[in-house]
Symmetry: C2
């Protein structure tokens, strides 16, 4: 284990908001933190310099994709993925478990590993827990994920149980081939079955991983289930290890995740939404293509300190999107990424000031004003929790 995790504030209970610092040889990451996704070693449409300017210190790449193309050995030969993509922050790689089970054409899943056909050229591959570690070692990432057995959210309970058990065994195998670098997180699975989640989290907690991911969420379950499962997992995980909620990246989900004790998030949402013209603001998501922005000389979000809002009017952004200009996709991606980084910064400050619940309630009331029932329920849960 090379990373250390230092609690800076909060964490008053097993599943409570907290501010911490992830410390590695390559640099520090204050948490809560959002990790932009560069699936193919490129955060879509942006340079590493632009990604860093949004405040991101750690980015995600995907081992499944890079294994298939251009190949982990090629990237290794070129000096590793940081150098390949020109990013001097941290890199966390997903093992590609999710992609193997969703994007590729599955041929056979067994205890040994997964046989599948590439989604690119139909070539046949056999991916194992050991290979997933080897790929990520070759990429030279800072934090790796083990191969996990991912099921659709609506899979039957016995299948979920079997996949969770296999994920445990695969984690043990992954760790056995690791040599301490990169740091290998464990992934809590268990679908939306509270008991299964709890059991899986406990089993993994006992294995003393350098960090824990919460997987299998944001795949179609309800928001209430997502929030509840995050909390269930966090309650069982060791307080002195980072917690990473995989594939979650909407502003409201970040707030709920931090409330449950999550430290790290990743999602393609900010860049994917950005490319459709959908932009985060404290008053909710807006679509820049709307007619109201046509002649708007002010920035989209006058409160925003991103490079886009600093230099361009909403009218210009609107114009770029109406004409499908590539620059629009860039400027919107920059705004959305910076928005999430700033939200993380605000949450961190609030935790350190003991004011997280106030921030969260005010934020959600403004961001989702129509959703008063959910917020009332959430408020009640937070309050009851703060007494336990």
């Amino acid at each position: 284990m090379t990373l250390t995790f230092r609690l800076d504030g909060g964490g008053d209970g097993p599943a409570a908001p907290r501010a911490a610092t992830l410390d590695t040889a390559r640099g520090q990451v204050p948490t809560p933190a959002f990790m932009p996704v560069g699936t193919l070693a490129s955060v879509k449409a942006l340079t590493p310099g632009e990604v860093a300017a949004t405040g991101a210190r750690i980015a995600l790449v995907n081992a499944y994709h890079l294994y298939l193309r251009p190949g982990h050995r090629l990237i290794h030969g070129l000096g590793g993925v940081h150098r390949f993509m020109g990013w001097d922050g941290l890199v966390l790689s997903d093992s590609g478990g999710f992609q193997v089970f969703s994007l590729a054409r599955l041929l056979r899943v067994g205890e040994g590993g997964v046989r599948f056909r590439s989604h690119i050229d139909g070539s046949e591959h056999y991916y194992t827990p050991e290979l997933a570690v080897e790929v990520q070692q070759a990429l030279g990432v800072d934090i790796a994920m083990p191969l996990d057995h991912v099921l659709p959210g609506d899979a039957p309970a016995p299948d979920q149980r079997e996949a969770a058990e296999r994920t445990l065994r695969w984690f043990d195998r992954s760790r056995a081939v690791g040599n301490g670098a990169p740091d290998l997180f464990a992934i809590v699975q268990g679908g939306v079955d509270e008991e299964l989640r709890r059991w899986h989290a406990r089993e993994l907690a006992a294995r003393d991983a350098p960090g824990y991911a919460i997987g299998g969420l944001s795949v179609g379950e309800s928001k209430a289930e997502q929030y509840a499962m995050s909390e269930v997992a966090c309650r069982e995980l060791p307080a002195d290890r980072p917690r990473y909620l995989m594939g979650v990246g909407s502003p409201e989900d970040l707030v709920h995740g931090v409330a449950a004790g999550v430290d790290l998030f990743d999602c393609v949402l900010p860049t994917r939404l950005g490319r459709t013209g959908s932009l985060f603001t404290d008053a909710g998501r807006v679509n820049i293509k709307g007619a109201r922005f046509r002649g708007e000389g002010a920035p989209l979000d006058p409160d925003c300190d991103c490079a886009t809002c600093a230099s361009y009017s909403a009218a210009y952004l609107h114009h770029l999107f109406r004409n499908e200009e590539l620059l629009g996709y860039r400027l919107a991606s920059i705004h959305n990424l910076r928005y999430l980084q700033r939200l993380c910064e605000r949450m961190r400050e609030a935790v350190l000031d003991g004011a997280f619940e106030t921030l969260a309630e005010e934020f959600l009331a403004r961001y989702q004003p129509a959703d008063e029932a959910t917020r009332a329920e959430q408020r009640a849960r937070w309050r009851s929790r703060s007494r336990t």
Copy 2:
């Protein structure tokens, strides 16, 4: 007239290479110069800062496109096109004559103007020489083009003659409504008819415009015709005014254009080619998608000082293009634009050193090694000319 044009070197004859400085209230442009094209007030995929970093000091926008969407009055209300797009260099606008006659659905062309349907929504518009000036004044550009009557390159001679005559009358009308800002260039037409080109250039030269464009080329005629017509026009144009060869932007065409006495160029080619992975190098165009770049750890062009070659390997560029990553389009566009700027810088230096012909011959021998016959013929023409 607000711009001035100062000859810095060369110009030894009526159609000879030259180095000059275009001086305006907004800044200076050393020539020869290539103007990146931002049709819709955006050089595709790039920020103004990136465009400026390639060395460009003047960019092009298109009045036809901006008239249709978002509208020149809207841009005027937002402070003009420089502010709208965040570009503090010079802006030259094309009147949109070429687009009206090629992109729109023409309804009726008369002496008064052109009735057409928008290529976007089919709405009907009546575009006149006066309106074209008004649109460009509203945009607040530095240099404007008059509406010209553009014919396909293979139009019959009598039609070419009629269009050239009308373009003269339209220039007079355009100038009558101008108020001195922006500077209004005249456009030499005449297809590939040497006599017609000569006559048209003379007629316009007598009208004492602040600058001259050479239009109707790079529209399907042969390279030899393009080079010959540029030279014919340059021979008739006043030596103390800038000459702008419209729509021309391949490296070899820039060299031939400068040889004929052209100062300014514009073309979508560098950015359009860039988006297909086709990149300029001194050894000719290369396609980054080629297998030979797959594992190439060096930059695409080790001699290049662009932001792309400074930071990324050819292998990474190859990877981005193989995966259709938007960042690839950006990085390739930056390289190609910088390549043309650097070529202009090299030609300027060579002219100032009295070494243009040597540079041109060496450049073409390396860039188009297979085309020895054309080069021998060109060499003979240059040499005969330098004795006249």
